[in-house]
């Protein structure tokens, strides 16, 4: 009898933690999203879909969704394009390409708050690195983080800088899996460099590209730290991405019902994307060499 129970003892601690802090919270969020509550009142009346309606009727939700989608649409091609270009230059196993890979990867393990603080200085209007360089070559002094058009771009650049190394590592693995014979064949046929890239490399790393694309979109929908530290969603809501809005509604306005409704919406979006991702991994990421 006891022997049959053995495996359950081994999995029990993990299962308890997963249940309490991951699965039950999904149900709790669903429940809270149809109630009105602000942490303080003793009861939380059922209000049906009121919180969702309120969100869908509010300009800030649509602004937030727009900003987040814009962030994703602008940053994904930047990330993937830069990463593929760099990766294709770093596939050889030389000392310098190893070191460069390390350099590009370093930000991925660095504290995001530190990165946000450092880049707040880089893009500071006065005494900032970028404006010092612009000044040197006789250009103006844009107020990067105070300008509604530029602030989102700054966040995109910072996010790209942080995530690029991961994309590069994955692309290198994808590129190295392309059989050398294909390149040899292309060379025999007298393929130009750009042609070989377009006809051989690009189609064969497509699965990797899809994988990274979805990861990048998922990440775009979860960006919070750089927003919270660098712009607080401002100026005038120009960088008020979805998780930042969730934080504001839940932990600054203490509107638990509306915050939970937003959390549920985000959850549905992200799980949908994640399912798409696992289908891609399941289908085929690698072309066997």
């Amino acid at each position: 009898m006891l022997r049959k129970l053995t495996p359950y003892f081994f999995v029990a601690p993990l299962m308890i933690f997963i249940a309490v802090f991951t699965y039950v919270p999904i149900l709790t969020s669903l429940n809270l999203s149809v109630r009105q509550w602000n942490f303080l009142t003793p009861d939380m009346p059922f209000v049906g879909l009121h919180n969702y309606e309120e969100l869908f009727a509010s300009a800030e939700f649509w602004n937030s969704l727009k900003v987040t989608v814009l962030f994703a649409v602008l940053s994904v091609p930047l990330r993937l394009g830069a990463a593929l270009f760099i990766a294709s230059r770093l596939i050889r196993e030389t000392l310098s390409s190893r070191l460069l890979r390390g350099a590009f990867f370093l930000p991925s393990v660095t504290s995001t708050v530190s990165i946000a603080v450092v880049f707040s200085w880089v893009f500071a209007t006065d005494y900032g690195m970028v404006n010092a360089i612009l000044h040197l070559v006789g250009l103006g002094r844009p107020q990067w983080l105070q300008d509604p058009y530029l602030a989102l771009w700054v966040l995109i650049i910072v996010n790209t800088w942080r995530q690029l190394g991961y994309d590069i590592v994955i692309y290198i693995a994808g590129l190295q899996a392309i059989p050398q014979e294909l390149y040899d064949a292309a060379a025999v046929d007298g393929g130009q460099r750009f042609h070989v890239f377009r006809r051989v490399t690009l189609p064969l790393v497509m699965p990797t590209t899809y994988f990274l694309l979805i990861i990048a979109v998922i990440e775009a929908f979860q960006v919070f730290t750089i927003v919270n530290v660098m712009t607080r969603g401002g100026p005038a809501g120009a960088t008020d991405m979805l998780v930042n809005l969730l934080y504001e509604i839940g932990f600054e306005l203490f509107d638990i019902g509306r915050g939970s409704a937003l959390a549920v919406i985000l959850f549905v979006l992200l799980v949908g994307l994640a399912l798409l991702k696992s289908r891609i991994i399941g289908s085929k990421v690698h072309y066997e060499a």
Partner: protein, 269 residues
């Protein structure tokens, strides 16, 4: 490793330095006095570190971060290893379902649990405690999945020989599986530690007492005190930032290759 063109090597070095220049410059800046930084003079001082550590409490934040990340790593790895062993070696009713539920956590965004976990810990009276920072971070579906895959590669004959000699399950796990899974366990430990060290949103909501700030919260607050009130003391902020980056940076440089390999395995397999 192939020999290479010295010109290419030099160019690569420059590109790497340029890419990292914001962080490198921030470290350099942390050794300047504020006056000299603004005046564009070059000096060397440890004053910013003294102030960050003494006056602005960063010694305390550093200790908090070490305690929280350290405990999350130890507990997280223990819990993941135990479960991974069961998933790799036993077939039992509900096992596949539980393994599926573990892997599915990888898809679940953490924000859905932000408000509920806050309420759970508030009810348990654990907000503003180390336990409140640590408990929600312990379960790690990815680590469990990764370790289980690795353990399945260890020949079962080894376990069987040990069972013949009368070993218990725990002994087999501890004496055979764990030592043979060392590379996987250490790369997962590092992965958990780094992720927890850099965690921001949870400590932000779970902690209000300054004594319990982690480095991330301390740094964000230190930077946020300033804006709007004249010149920011950038060298001081950068000293705090360097304190925040350094431990993980050193750890990363020590084991870079393992970590990168682990990440690739997790993503493309």
């Amino acid at each position: 490793m192939k020999p290479e063109n010295p010109f290419v090597a030099l160019l690569s070095l420059l590109v790497g330095l340029l890419f990292l220049s914001p962080v490198l410059y921030s470290i350099w800046m942390s050794f300047q006095t504020a006056d000299d930084f603004y005046a564009g003079r070059v000096t060397f001082t440890l004053d910013n570190y003294e102030r960050a550590i003494g006056q602005f409490n960063f010694a305390r934040y550093l200790i908090n971060s070490l305690i929280v990340s350290g405990l999350v790593t130890v507990l997280g790895i223990t819990v993941a290893t135990l479960a991974a062993f069961a998933f790799a070696r036993f077939r039992f009713p509900g096992g596949d379902l539980m393994f599926g539920a573990t892997v599915a956590t990888l898809m679940i965004p953490s924000h859905i649990s932000l408000i509920p976990n806050y309420l759970t810990l508030a009810k348990a009276g654990l907000l503003d405690t180390y336990a409140g920072l640590i408990l929600p971070a312990i379960s790690n579906g990815f680590a469990c999945f990764f370790l289980r895959q690795y353990m399945r590669g260890i020949p079962k004959a080894l376990d069987e020989a040990a069972y013949m000699d009368g070993a218990t399950h725990l002994q087999v796990l501890w004496r055979i599986i764990v030592p043979l899974s060392r590379p996987a366990i250490s790369s997962m430990a590092l992965y958990i530690f780094i992720a927890e060290w850099n965690n921001y949103i949870w400590p932000l909501v779970a902690v209000g007492k300054q004594d319990l700030y982690t480095l991330q919260i301390g740094l964000a607050r230190l930077y946020r005190i300033n804006p709007g009130e004249g010149l920011i003391d950038w060298p001081l902020v950068m000293a705090a930032s360097t304190i925040t980056i350094l431990p993980v940076l050193l750890g990363f440089l020590a084991v870079e290759r393992h970590l990168v390999r682990g990440i690739t395995m997790g993503a493309v397999k």
